[in-house]
Amino acid sequence: MNLEKVIFGFFVILACTLNTGFFIGEIDVIYQHNATELFLALGISVVVMVLKLGDRTQIGALQLATSLAVVLQLILSCFVWVWQTQVSGQPMDAETMSTIVSLSGGALLANVISVILLIGETLRQTR
């Protein structure tokens, strides 16, 4: 067993699961989407991105690209949240929540691709 693989796999999958957890629920129902969960998803995604830095293999490059997409999407979605509640000073409404959740949905897709790459590489190694 390789410790690096365990840690790496753990963070990649955790990022994906947190992202999924935030995403599920009606898109415009505010209480179905948890702010802490979004925050954790963003945090773990950044950790994953850092873990992927410096891998010179081909598959490593693609892995990093998926993480960049995830982080970008999640930052945008957090930014929308902060703008609505702090900068504009309005209460959260269904329209804004829809934007936030759909952005996190895009991040989820990139996270799924990342997990697929992880599985693909593992399968190839045990051929």
């Binding site: 390789n2 840690i7 790496f8 873990l51 830095l53 410096g54 891998d55 010179r56 293999t57």
Partner: protein, 565 residues
Amino acid sequence: MEPFFLILRRLRRPLLALIGTAIISVLGLANIPGVDANGNPAILGYFHAFYVMTFTATTVGFGEEPYAFSEAQRLWVIFSICISVTSWAYTLAVIFHMTRDPTFRAAILRSHFSTRVRRQTEPFILVIGYGQSGTVLAQMLDRIGYKSVIVELQADRVARIETQEYLRAPLFVAADGRWPETLVDAGVTHPQCQAMVVLAGDDDTTQAVAIGGSTLNPNLRIIARARSEMAVANLESFQRIEIVNPYETFAFNLGQDFSSPEKLRVREWLTGLPGAKRPTVLKLPIGHWVICGFGRFGHYVAKALTRADASWTAIDNNPELAAEPSLLQKTYSQETLSEAGIERAVGIVACTDRDAINLAAIRRARVLNRDLFVVVRQMHASNASLVEATNADLRFIQADVTSHEVRQLITSPLLSRFLQALRADTGDLAQRTSAQLEATVEDRVPFLWVFRCMEAFPGLREAFAYNPEAPLKIGDLLVYPYDPSRNLQAMALMLVRSNEEVLLPEAHTILQTGDHILFAGTKDVDVLQKLHYLSPSPLPLIRTGVEPPRSWVFRKLAAWRTAAR
């Protein structure tokens, strides 16, 4: 589509009869007066008439729909049943007759075959002729990883294929390879067709097929077995046709056994059926030889003996042979054998074209001289056990010799180059090769493959670009890629760099891009070795025994842990 139209054409008359009866019966039933459920006069109409006829004509019989028929309608239905059932029976009879018709079945099989060949996505080799040589060859190709497409004229031989064991089931058809359509159906112009091997029974057919194939696809590699000088001369004028002459090869092998037996042994070892037992050394004695049967094969043997400075006397009872000083044109009796000098001879070559005569000649010769070295030619595979019972020192089986030759040509051009170098070698290359083979594959025939150092492979690009201080060596390719403490059962036979050849390269030889290495080893070792093509390369693991951390964070972590320790 072709068999579909063929079926339609055969069924034209029964179909016409069916349609005709349907028209007549529906027309009648639709217009004959009847009464409805309330007793009012009514006719059935075309829709209901057709509905009733569909189940009446096929004898399903739902009853009288939509309401009870009048007597006139019932009369018509009786008539309709008579004509429609008759025409159905007629149709079925024609269909059964057709499916039992051998020409029709052949056409169906043929179209099935050509469709399957057309859909082939993996590389295959076309084998024309499935006699003894074809059988041995197809099995050899199967072992070294090629699918074969087989064309054979005799249906019973083709039927045999289905009962034989293959990893990749061959596609086959019973057809005449001399017909261009057959060759096209069998994939002679298919992009995945790697080569065509022609092993027809006689040289005339072989010529026709080989030349036909070469005309249809001038870029295709064609390997033809030819034994007569005329056929060889004809085929040699085609650039892409390579000729295998088992008689000449065998005689050449005999000659090489006299001069350098170790070279012959290595050659046979590398070209045998992979995984089978390795061949033994012969050590033919030099002295006087008696040749029974002086046909084409006998001539080749005699030439080889002359070249090796051995004397010989031939015996043949064919009166049409040209007279020659050391040829006795007599029967193979004990007197003739004595006259040929069997008492003082060191060996006998029994090579008439009849197994029984060969066996008898050997028996008589052994009575006169017990210590003869016996070389016997085996004509038919079915006589193998009889020929084996003679305990001959060497058997000439055309199928084996041919398949060895073809494997040489097909495996890789690198193998041919290695064998040429072996032939030209004046040092101890043969001894060194056989010692290394012994250590690698013990007493088995090795599998052969080529490792290509191309930078297009991501794993190799890493190995070449990131490790300038510890470059990739041949030895790295011989380590088990998941566990560096074990070695792969493989050895490097030859390294080719641009046009330079390095025979038996050492493990510390540094590789460059563009190098090709011919390896010999046990089964599936090449799969493990090809992990080097993939990214991430197994090279760091091989070097250090641990998988290196791949990203920046883990590298820092590893450095920190090492420092702490």
